[in-house]
Homo-oligomer: 126 residues x 2
Amino acid sequence: MTDGATLKIKAQIMLGDEIAMGPGKAALLEAITREGSISAAGRALGMSYRRTWMLVDTMNRCWAQPLVETAAGGRHGGGARLTEAGARVLAHYRAIEAQLGDAQEGTDWGVLRGLLRDLPEPSRST
Amino acid sequence: MTDGATLKIKAQIMLGDEIAMGPGKAALLEAITREGSISAAGRALGMSYRRTWMLVDTMNRCWAQPLVETAAGGRHGGGARLTEAGARVLAHYRAIEAQLGDAQEGTDWGVLRGLLRDLPEPSRST
């Protein structure tokens, strides 16, 4: 259990009913850069192989250009990295999140914080 | 299916692991004001009786003062309305949401919009 009060803000870029970009997909793009492969990135984030590839597939179907490129490389199998479009999309998404973070410093959140208990009362329902 | 690209932003006020306020609970508070009773508000939002009362219970356990007061009233059963604390919490939450809405007008979202397809490509997975 996480103690204390937090204001959680989530930005999702929707295209039709699909989530083209959100916290999970942004984390995956960053992990791909770090790990150098899609499967390793998924493993590092504790996601199943199937879910990892579904996120990549959804991004590919939503954005005009691929965000991730794979290399059919060498004896250890291919790696993966962000395309220029992938790096741009990730950077602009993170910029939106940073802008949203300003609300964390706002007076409305300050007031609401003061109206919360220190911890939730335990639930009495069974 | 909703056509086109949208930037969806969700604010959740967490207390420990509980959601003290979010889009669903704010909608419920507004429906209570409109409908004059908790059950009618839940029905108006298409929520089950159980879920409606769970949301109210969670709010009561998270905020120092009750956000909703019920009246053990008259021959038609009791009604409900927001307390002063309830009205304040709702107003500040909506103010945070309005502030977040500024990101909808930002340049980052403008750039990202331009990088999306018009619609997602159909999924080829079975």
